[in-house]
C-alpha cells in the first residue's frame, strides 16, 4: 500500500505545495556553478580596472571577449543574487504582504539594473 497522501498525479509532477517543485533550488545551483569561473575572472579584472580612466575602461569593456563575459556575469550574477535574497526574505520576513512585496521589489530591481548594465555594455561595444 502507498502511505503517501498525495495523488499519483501530484507525485509524478513533483511540484509540492509551492507549485514550483525544485526549480528555485536547481536554478540557484546552476547559476552558482556558472559563476565560479566568471567571478574569478571578474575579480581579477576588477582590480585591473579599479584605477582605469574613462578611455581605458571603455576599451576594456568594448573588446569582444570581455563583452560576452561581462554580460554573462551581470545576468547570471544578478539572477543568483535575486534567488539568494528571496530565500533570505522567505526566512526572516513573516508577513505575507511584506514578504511578497520585498520579493517582487528585489526581482524588479535586479532586472532593471541588469538590463541597464547590459545596454551600457552593448552601447560601449558597438560605439554609440
Amino acid at each position: 500500500m502507498n502511505s503517501d497522501l498525495r495523488t499519483p498525479l501530484a507525485r509524478a509532477r513533483g511540484l509540492g505545495s509551492a507549485r514550483e517543485g525544485v526549480h528555485h533550488w536547481w536554478a540557484q545551483r546552476l547559476t552558482a556553478i556558472a559563476l565560479i569561473p566568471l567571478v574569478v575572472w571578474f575579480a581579477i579584472s576588477l582590480v585591473m580596472m579599479s584605477g582605469a580612466d574613462y578611455g581605458a575602461v571603455r576599451a576594456w569593456i568594448g573588446s569582444p571577449v570581455v563583452m560576452v563575459l561581462l554580460i554573462l556575469t551581470i545576468a547570471i550574477g544578478l539572477h543568483h543574487g535575486q534567488l539568494g535574497l528571496q530565500v533570505v526574505i522567505e526566512d526572516y520576513v513573516h508577513g505575507d504582504g511584506s514578504k511578497l512585496a520585498l520579493i517582487v521589489a528585489v526581482r524588479f530591481i535586479a532586472v532593471l539594473f541588469g538590463l541597464a548594465a547590459v545596454v551600457a555594455v552593448l552601447r560601449i561595444g558597438f560605439g554609440s
Binding site: 585591473m48 569593456i61 551581470i74
Partner: protein, 132 residues
C-alpha cells in the same frame, strides 16, 4: 483562560548572550551576510558600467572614489566577500551531493574555505595589479 493556555514567562532559548560560537554556524551566517553584501555591491558595479557608457564627467566620479583609500578598502572587502561566498558555495555544492557531513569534515572544509578565501583575495589583488 484555562490553566493550560496561561502564558508562562520562562526564559527563551537559545540565550544569545551566553551562546558559544562555533566555526560552522559563524561560516553559515557569513555566507548569508556576504551574499547580501555582494547583492548590494552588484548594484554599485552595474552603476559603474552604466556611468562608463555615459560621459567622462560622470565616470570621473566613480574613478575618484575607486582610487581613494575608502574605495580601496571597499574593493578589498568585495574581493573577500566574493571569494568567501564562492569557496563556501563550493562547500555547499559538495553537501548537496552528499559529501562532507561528518563533523570533522565540516570543520576541516570550513577552515580550508577561510584560508583559500583570504589567499585568493591577496593573490587576485596582486595578479590584477600586475596585469594593468
Amino acid at each position: 483562560m484555562s490553566v493550560a493556555n496561561r502564558p508562562v514567562h520562562r526564559p527563551l532559548s537559545p540565550h544569545l548572550q551566553v551562546y558559544k560560537w562555533q566555526l560552522t554556524s559563524v561560516l553559515s551566517i557569513l555566507h548569508r551576510a556576504t551574499g547580501i553584501a555582494l547583492s548590494v555591491g552588484a548594484l554599485y558595479l552595474a552603476t559603474w558600467v552604466i556611468y562608463a557608457a555615459a560621459n567622462p564627467t560622470a565616470y570621473a566620479l566613480f574613478q575618484g572614489f575607486n582610487t581613494s583609500i575608502l574605495g580601496r578598502i571597499v574593493l578589498g572587502g568585495w574581493l573577500f566577500c566574493a571569494f568567501y561566498h564562492l569557496c563556501n558555495g563550493i562547500r555547499h555544492l559538495f553537501w548537496d551531493a552528499g559529501y562532507g557531513f561528518e563533523l570533522k569534515d565540516a570543520y576541516r572544509s570550513g577552515w580550508i574555505v577561510v584560508a583559500v578565501a583570504l589567499i585568493a583575495t591577496v593573490v587576485s589583488w596582486i595578479v590584477g595589479l600586475r596585469l594593468v
